[in-house]
């Protein structure tokens, strides 16, 4: 039996919001403290306590909603999602059921040939995070520090048709969220978590197949791998004539496979009802307007502007836009030295390589735009070669000195007076009679070898174009 299947994926992203305090109490919202040292009667769910909403959490929720093109609900409320599991001390999670903060949004993902595909966002709702469970041989340990951390859950429609699209959606979503500066968006620390719903169906079928929900992926790559694994598993199960069981599966990154969770949690029966401890919230139009006006320029808008304003190609603009601080740094450099393409090359090439080699970030490096712009100008003016320029950049990052100072202190300025270069070239010619012979017999490509030798001798300080000309002249005119 041969069958063509279509993959259907929907994603739920849980985003921890970077507020100072938890969502319903004044405990610090911090990661990595001693277990159970950031709790209070409210987040421990002790009787007689009352949750009160953190103002900033709602603002952040609206901010993300607007950035994802959502409608903001003018009336929102919180509901209790009841389930009995030790990660929640109250036996319910305060969440939002029928009046979430935001709904009906759109995220555009890049497709082939520069086209964009719409992924619909069904809703974004606020809720409290649960505690952390550590499973041991003889019991489960519970740390309630994370309980009450503000979460925004962003739920898509089942609009993605491949693991790659899911991956791309996550990339675009994360970038947008980073621009908003409302979360660390760090999957390894759990500040951004993704659960995926996946099913397959025969290509002409319109009804959805039975889905599995996969959890426990700690990187976007893992999300993609887990989805790829599930698509294959579903296909095999269906082709062998069996049925997919709707269940939650956990991704095992070491084994690179999903495993049935077999949790003792009761089948989902959450019995949502309005939380009587929290009054409703009315979001006025002028508040929404105020937050909308506070939004930064978002990634796609910046991308288009960079292409138009600086005449950059899509690739260069895309790399710059991937990091808001890099994008800003780029613009500050261009303001000082208006060679946008050159600056983009330096940023996307040598600088990003240094940042990655040093496992650092632009913010940590303390590089100022004037230094980099100054360096690029000196390379363009021929004061140093491109190659030496890269070394100057390294020293610049180590010392914080200006290009001018570094070049001067280390005697790195290009040797460009004909006389001393000719002297060096003559030495090279003497040392390499074989190569010289080959050039004389017409093998012009050997010239590069001699240029390289000369560059080596001058420690990269010579202008390669000039050397090439001198070598040619000395050999062929001799």
């Amino acid at each position: 039996m041969s069958m063509d299947f279509e993959t259907v994926i929907g994603l739920e992203v849980h985003l921890q919001l970077k507020t100072a305090t938890k969502i319903f109490c004044a405990c610090a919202n911090q990661f990595g403290e001693q277990p159970n040292s950031l709790t209070c009667p409210v987040c421990l769910g002790l009787p007689g306590t009352l949750p009160v909403l953190n103002k900033k959490v709602l603002e952040y929720g609206i901010k993300v909603g607007l950035a994802l093109g959502c409608e903001i609900n003018p009336y929102i409320k919180f509901d209790r999602k009841n389930y009995y599991y030790p990660d929640l001390p109250k036996a319910y999670q305060i969440s939002q059921y029928d009046f979430p903060v935001a709904k009906n949004g759109l995220v555009m993902i890049p497709m082939e040939k520069g086209e964009l595909k719409k992924i619909r966002v069904n809703r974004a709702h606020l809720e409290e995070d649960a505690g952390k469970l550590t499973h041991e041989a003889d019991g489960t340990l519970v740390d309630y520090n994370r309980t009450g951390t503000p979460l925004l859950e962003i739920v898509t429609e089942a609009d993605m048709r491949s693991p790659q699209e899911a991956y791309d959606y996550l990339q675009v979503l994360k970038l947008t969220l980073q621009y908003l500066n409302v979360s660390d968006c760090d999957m390894e620390k759990g500040s951004l978590r993704c659960d995926a719903n996946v099913s397959i169906r025969p290509r002409e079928e319109t009804k959805l197949g039975t889905k599995s929900e996969i959890k426990n992926m700690n990187s976007f790559k893992a999300v993609k791998a887990a989805l790829e694994y599930e698509v294959i598993r579903h296909t095999q199960v269906i082709l062998s004539g069996e049925k997919i069981v709707q269940e939650t599966r956990l991704w095992d990154d070491n084994k690179q496979m999903t495993l049935s969770m077999r949790s003792k949690e009761e089948a989902h029966d959450y019995r949502y009802f309005p939380d009587p401890d929290l009054v409703p919230f009315v979001v006025k139009a002028d508040k929404i307007k105020e937050i909308r006006q506070s939004l930064p320029e978002l990634p796609y808008a910046k991308l288009e502007r960079f292409k138009n304003q600086y005449n950059l190609n899509g690739y260069d603009a895309f790399i710059l836009v991937l990091d808001q601080t890099i994008a800003q740094f780029f613009e500050e450099c261009v303001a000082l030295y208006p060679e946008a393409k050159k600056i983009a090359n330096w940023l996307n090439g040598p600088l990003l390589r240094e940042i990655s080699d040093r496992k650092s970030s632009l913010a940590e490096l303390k590089l100022v735009p004037a230094s980099l712009a100054g360096l690029i100008k000196m390379v363009e003016d021929g004061v140093v070669s491109n190659l030496v320029g890269k070394d100057v950049l390294k020293i610049m990052l180590d010392t914080g000195k200006s290009a001018e100072q570094i070049i001067q202190e280390n005697g790195l300025a290009q040797v460009s007076d004909q006389e001393s270069l000719t002297r060096i070239v003559d030495e090279i010619i003497k040392e390499n009679p074989k190569a010289v012979g080959e050039i004389k017999s017409g093998k012009e490509n050997v010239l590069g070898f001699l240029v390289g030798q000369t560059m080596k001798k001058t420690q990269g300080k010579a202008n390669p174009k000039m050397i090439g000309e001198i070598i040619k002249r000395r050999i062929l005119d001799a």
Binding site: P35, N36, S37, K55, T140, K264, E265, V279
Partner: protein, 94 residues
């Protein structure tokens, strides 16, 4: 109609252990309660605005300012069992 099975299901979701005869009694009680509440459906509420809350209050916020938390010892004083600074509960995963 609330049956004994409904009562047992609700009890199990709430981790309440019921004897068979208790389940039947509670099912009867629940049935009566629901019937009583159903009387509300006889009212004409055309002009009544729906609400999820009994108080005429909205937008009660807290500023995003940190207050000290309980210490680990204080937090764990309510635990039946503890280990490594954590509450310890029966295993929840196989």
């Amino acid at each position: 109609m609330i049956t004994k099975e409904h009562a047992l299901k609700i009890a199990s979701l709430s981790r309440i252990h019921l004897k068979e005869e208790e389940a039947q009694l509670l099912a009867n009680d629940l049935e009566c309660i629901l019937k009583y509440i159903d009387q509300l459906n006889e009212l004409d509420v055309t002009d009544v605005k729906p609400t999820s809350h009994a108080l005429p209050l909205q937008n009660v916020f807290r500023e995003d300012v940190v207050n000290p938390s309980l210490s680990q010892d204080e937090a764990l004083q309510f635990s039946v069992q503890k280990d490594k600074g954590c509450y310890k509960v029966p295993k929840v995963i196989e």
